[in-house]
Amino acid sequence: MRSTRAGEVPDDLDAFCRAVWPRLVGALSLQVGGRELAEELAQEAVARTCRHWETVRTLDSPAGWVHRVAFNLANSHHRRLRAARRAHRLVRAEAPTPDPADVLAVRAAVAELPPHERSVVVCRYYLGLSVAETADALGCPEATVKTRTRRALARLRATGIIGEDS
């Protein structure tokens, strides 16, 4: 194993973080509905990866660990935001976006899903994780993943963004 001097970023850590970064930001953007916040949460997940790298690097699936951290952060953020909105009746101003209408429709449909179902859809159909990997990333049983997937797909079908035969 290549040794790293104190204060240096190990090559494998740097490569790992850069490799997972785009999908991490993409997944979180679908989960929380905004790029800036997604980048902020993804950066926190990367920071924790750096802090715990000696342990994370030995895991069977370091990427699975990062996904778990990222979705926990997103869920915590969602709870805090919900509480803050309750307390202060905040209204979030949406920035104008140049994206095409069909893309906006997909984002809106995904954003309408309950957070737990949204996490499952993002893990299964964006990150391409298996049922077992999704269960591991979200910290729930596989049966729960299957149930949430079924419900989420039904909701998405009802919006018309995916076909009835889906």
Binding site: T4, A6, G7, E8, V9, P10, L13, D14, C17, R18, W21, P22, V25, G26, A27, S29, L30, G34, R35, A38, E39, A42, Q43, V46, A47, R48, C50, R51, H52, W53, E54, R68, V69, N72, N75, S76, R79, R80, A83, A84, R86, A87, D102, V103, V106, R107, V110, V121, V122, Y125, Y126, G128, G139, C140, P141, L153, I161, I162, D165, S166
Partner: protein
Amino acid sequence: MTDELSTLLERAAMRPGRDPRVTPPPAARVRMPLVAVAAGLIAVLVVAGAVAFATRRSGRATPSPTSTAAAEVRTGRDGVSVVLPDGWYRSRVPTAPWLHSPREVLALADAPIADVPHDGANHAACPSEIPEAGVDAARTGGAFVWIGDLSGGATFDPPPERPRSVADAAWRPLCALEGMETRGTTFTEGGRDLIVSVVIRADAPPEVRRQVDELLDSVSVTPG
């Protein structure tokens, strides 16, 4: 089906506008050979013995020892302290602000604990009043320890005296949390009735469990 939805999500997901900031991991602790550790220990004992002998001969009073545990965390108000294991964190604000008896003294985890809004809402993860922020931290790291003060709580029988080791404590399971082990215990020390809740990820390594036991054995209580 999966292709259709995957394609849609691929288009809908936002691309990062910047690269990640990758920081060096904390410096690993240097592992000293056992022989070197033993030699160092002997040297320290010899010096300490010589100093004690010289002090007694000179008739001066021996200075009281001061704490050398740099990582010791103390609560200023509540007089309960623990030695925080390396890589552990203490919550910046109470994780269970809705509780008054028991009242939170310390909330500790081996991953950062998110701040809980003090909005009067109950942010418990389950009926045992384990805070959600602590469970999140335990899922990220491996363990969460919550210590509360039962003083003033009239509904409990007096807890037993604190055992010599946490291994001897009367632990009981707390509410079920997916993928987690939960347990709790109460004890009395220095006239203070304390309650401890522990959440450990089911697949947490033995090192984390050892840290939890050491942390709890390090609890120091100022008589109330």
